[in-house]
């Protein structure tokens, strides 16, 4: 077990593309850290640099306090689970798991013991003689995990290992991965573009964009206190609503306004925003923090809009509302019916308002 | 398409490439450059002195009526061979694609001439057409045609054409059948629902879709007719009678090894190389186009 420490790590490809830009990141011993971001954000490149599959252009990578920049992947004491599993198609499940140990000249009975142990943990003992092609997607996934486990490495690296599974299996495997981590306690770094996976699996989530780290923190912290509009928009489903507003002082209260939006900024938030009259900002409200009501006289703290579409998901309904050119999504009680073109009033939860700088996107 | 870099070694790739590259350099590149060099020299009969003569060897070739007629003969030969071998193969492939039962059996019986050496194919057919005992010649005699490829130039030309076509059908057949089987059945079904009969479907769907295969085969067949048929000619007619079957590749060999006219032979080599390079470039353009799809 080990910590992984990245210091100012950068990757520039021969063509000049800068995939990772000066990332500094400490991954604590025994943590389950998820690298989250859209495709092309550099998360996979970062993982592959930790694995030793990509050279590190700048900065240093330490595993267990040893600088590994120039260490071969096999000598970094890590194991990796690939997106497409990368099982050797011509080898049996047993040989797939044993191959790495054999290359390390591990004694035969030791190999056997470890493979059998891993097979027991993953419940693949019955398939040890089969070739990968005779296995289902889920079973192959387990073999890939098994191949990582038998090595008993300091760090596990996962590169979107669930993305080739169907939705149902993905949820089940997610839970098993979590249990496995609790059991083994090995430092794990997990790359995904799926925010639900990141939120459920990670005890720390690293949100990345265009080669830089946007925010690092426990899942709920990212959800509750996103550092910028990117993180705010990336985490949560459906994504956070944004609207450009300007601040005005009215009756001693600070009001954020746009065409059909008038929202009183609560006192703690106001203090953070500081001197603000005339200033513009981006308002962020999650769909689940918007309450829908029929319009009434008081328009002082609400958003008025026209219902466009209602999506019924069963447990809840998503109502798309056009508020003066801003399309806002609100989660609504499925028992309440809304008609298209009905005018409604959206009331935000004052505790769940987010404001971001209009230009930098950073949270105010 | 490129791999992500996966292995690093300063010497291993060179060591792995070395055998192939050494052989290529010693037995391909060097001789080819020698041919190029020789083609601009005039050597005396004893090979003692040589003189730089620019393009004299080439102009001499094209002023030589033997060479020019050999050129024309080769062109006619390759068009005949490519056309016949491809036409017959396409017909058979279409039929084999049509039948469900027995297609594999037919395939097995049709592909094996691929494995027969050109020279052996020549021997087979020279026996079939032997003026005195050959079964085909006998049949022709009884129809009133006096076949004799040992005397009549056009008969000899027909003989090498038949042998060359016979051997090449299997190759073309394999490609046409693969091309036909790659056509999605749903496309043909859609056309059938639109009211297109088998003939119409063949013209409007099958032919356009196998045109890349046809083009590829055309190039391969021309190369085959130009170069691989040496064995057929050498084993059956030796270029005769009266040079009636002397195609270019046979002439290079004949002038170089029998006539010992090195400058001329080298110039002929260079011309043939140019032809191959042109054909390869054409084929490469086609591959590029295919990639662009």
């Amino acid at each position: 077990m080990a910590t992984v420490a990245l210091e100012n790590v950068g990757k520039v490809y021969p063509g000049g593309v800068e995939a990772v830009k000066g990332v500094t990141l400490d991954i604590p011993d025994g943590s389950f850290t998820v690298l989250l971001g859209p495709s092309g954000c550099g998360k996979s490149t970062l993982l592959r640099m930790i694995a030793g599959l990509e050279t590190i252009t700048t900065g240093t990578c330490r595993i267990a306090d040893r600088i590994v920049n120039d260490v071969e992947p096999a000598d970094r004491d890590i194991a990796m689970v690939f997106q497409n599993y990368a099982l050797y198609p011509h080898m049996s499940v047993y040989d797939n798991m044993a191959y790495g140990l054999r290359n390390r000249r591990t004694p035969k009975d030791e190999i056997d013991r470890r493979v059998k142990d891993a097979a027991r943990i993953l419940a693949i003992g019955d398939y040890l003689d089969r070739k990968p092609r005779a296995l289902s997607g889920g079973q192959r996934q387990r073999v890939a995990l098994g191949r990582a486990i038998v090595r008993d490495p300091k760090v596990f690296l996962f590169d979107e290992p669930l993305s080739n599974l169907d939705a149902k299996l993905r949820v089940a495997t997610r839970i098993e991965l979590r249990k496995l981590h609790e059991r083994l306690g090995t430092t794990s770094i997990y790359v995904t573009h799926d925010q639900v996976e990141a939120m459920t699996l990670g005890d720390r989530v690293v949100v990345m964009r265009e080669g830089t780290v946007q925010q690092v923190g426990p899942p709920l912290e990212l959800y509750n206190k996103p550092a910028n509009t990117f993180v705010a928009g990336f985490i949560g489903s459906p994504p956070m609503n944004f609207a450009d507003v300007s601040f005005t002082e009215r009756d001693g209260r600070l009001v954020a306004e746009a065409d059909s939006i008038q929202i009183v900024v609560p006192e703690p938030m106001r203090r953070r925003i500081g001197r603000s009259t005339g200033r513009t900002a981006t308002l962020g409200i999650r769909p689940e923090n918007l309450r829908i009501a029929t319009p009434d006289a008081d328009r002082s703290n609400a958003i008025t809009g026209v219902v466009q579409v209602v999506e019924h998901l069963g447990a809840e309904s998503l109502v798309a509302v056009d508020a003066g050119g801003h399309l806002l999504i609100a989660k609504a009680d499925p028992t309440v019916a809304f008609a298209s073109n009905e005018t409604v009033r959206l009331t935000p939860d004052p505790e769940a308002l987010h404001f971001f700088d209009s230009t930098s996107g950073a949270a105010l | 398409m490129e791999k992500r870099v996966v292995f690093r070694s300063a010497w291993l790739p060179y060591a792995l490439l070395a055998p192939q590259l050494v052989i290529t350099a010693v037995f391909f590149v060097w001789p080819a450059s020698q041919a190029l060099y020789q083609s601009v020299l005039l050597e005396d009969a004893f090979g003692l002195k040589s003189q730089f003569v620019w393009a004299d060897n080439f102009t001499a070739l094209f002023r030589n009526s033997d060479y020019v007629s050999s050129f024309g003969r080769t062109a006619v030969f390759s068009i005949l061979v490519a056309g016949l071998a491809m036409g017959i193969a396409l017909l058979l492939a279409v039929m084999a694609d049509h039948v469900i039962r027995g297609a594999t059996t037919y395939k097995t019986f049709l592909i094996w001439p691929y494995a027969v050496a050109p020279a052996v194919a020549g021997a087979l057919w020279v026996f079939m057409f032997n003026p005195r005992i050959g079964i085909v010649a006998y049949a022709m005699h009884s129809f009133g045609y006096d076949w004799n490829h040992q005397i009549k130039g056009e008969d000899a030309f027909a003989l090498i054409t038949v042998a060359a076509v016979w051997k090449q059908i299997s190759y073309n057949f394999v490609f046409f059948l693969a091309g036909l089987q790659a056509i999605p059945k749903s496309l043909l079904e859609a056309a059938a629902i639109d009211g297109a009969g088998p003939g119409k479907r063949f013209r409007s769907i099958v032919l356009p879709l196998i045109s890349p295969t046809s083009f590829f085969l055309l190039v391969v067949n021309i190369v085959y007719a130009f170069f691989d048929t040496f064995g057929i000619v050498h084993a059956t007619t030796s270029g005769g009678p009266a040079k009636a079957t002397e195609i270019l590749v046979y002439k290079v060999f004949n002038d170089g090894f029998i006539g010992l006219d090195l400058g001329s032979s080298a110039a002929q080599s260079v011309i043939l190389m140019t032809i191959v390079i042109l054909l390869t470039v054409v084929q490469f353009k086609y591959i590029e186009r295919k990639v662009a799809y």
Binding site: - | L17, I111, I133, F253
Partner: protein, 284 residues
């Protein structure tokens, strides 16, 4: 088939039957001729049904050879053995060399990589028939005439096989090499443990194509060998046909023809599935 049209199916079968007949008829005639006494094959029409000399002809040919001066009493088994050696060396050599070269080109980045690639590609443009005189001279200067080395080494480079392997390697997922690297396999071990077993189909296909290529070499052995000990069966047939002043001994020649085609034809037919796949893939 899209719809049922019995007459079309019938037409297809008839056409194919004619095609098969066209392809097979010369072989039948050849085989029949090889089972008769020479005097039966002296006048037309020659018989179309096998005779009684099958064993006699073939055993004489195989073990004593023809007594005419140009074929020079070399027993056919000797020529067949030469052909076999030549075909095997060429097939295996081409496969090994191309496999290594393709592996280097695909799995490494190094200076002159593309130059090496193009150099190999150039060999496509230089068939041996085209550069025959200077190539002969190189081999003669190297003292490789009348040897198995001279027969095979100059033919060991193969652009086709290199391309086929390269094409295949490019389809092997990158992750497989990366997983192997994580599992502590260096390049050579990856090549041996992973890539080689994955390439068996391609190797089988190439073996068929290259064995046939090697066995059927004609012009090259014709020039390379003056010593009868190195005569191959394909060139031997030419010597048997082109005899001065007399008729060829047709039954013997035809028996030699049958024997000369047997090995490559057998390999093509037995390994048909792989052969067809490999042949079609070289197009890509």
């Amino acid at each position: 088939m899209v719809e049922r049209r019995p007459w079309l199916t019938l037409l297809a079968h008839v056409t194919l039957a004619i095609g098969v007949l066209m392809v097979a008829f010369p072989i039948w005639v050849t085989f029949v001729a090889s089972t008769h006494r020479p005097e039966d094959i002296m006048t037309a029409p020659i018989p179309l049904w096998p005779g009684t000399q099958l064993l006699a002809n073939y055993s004489e040919l195989l073990f004593s050879g023809l007594k005419n001066p140009s074929a020079g009493g070399v027993p056919l088994w000797r020529m067949m053995a030469n052909s076999l050696v030549m075909a095997l060396i060429i097939a295996i050599g081409k496969i090994v060399l191309s496999f290594m070269a393709a592996f280097a080109i695909v799995y490494f980045r190094f200076p002159f990589r593309m130059a090496a690639f193009w150099l190999i590609f150039m060999t496509l443009m230089l068939p041996v028939e085209v550069r025959i005189v200077p190539t002969f001279k190189v081999v003669a200067d190297l003292g490789m005439l009348n040897s198995y080395a001279g027969l095979t080494v100059p033919l060991l480079a193969s652009a086709t096989a290199t391309f086929l392997f390269r094409q295949f390697f490019l389809t092997v997922p990158d992750e497989l090499a990366e997983a192997a690297r994580m599992d502590g396999a260096g390049p050579l071990r990856f090549m041996k443990d992973i890539l080689l077993p994955l390439s068996t189909t391609n190797i089988a296909a190439l073996f068929v194509i290259m064995f046939t290529f090697g066995w059927n070499q004609y012009l090259w052995p014709l020039l390379m060998t003056t010593d009868r000990q190195y005569m191959t069966v394909v060139m031997g047939i030419q010597r048997m046909i082109n005899v001065a002043d007399t008729d060829p001994q047709w039954p013997m020649v035809m028996a030699a023809v049958i024997l000369a085609m047997l090995p490559p034809v057998a390999i093509v037919v037995v390994l048909q599935k792989w052969f067809v796949k490999g042949l079609v893939e070289t197009e890509k």
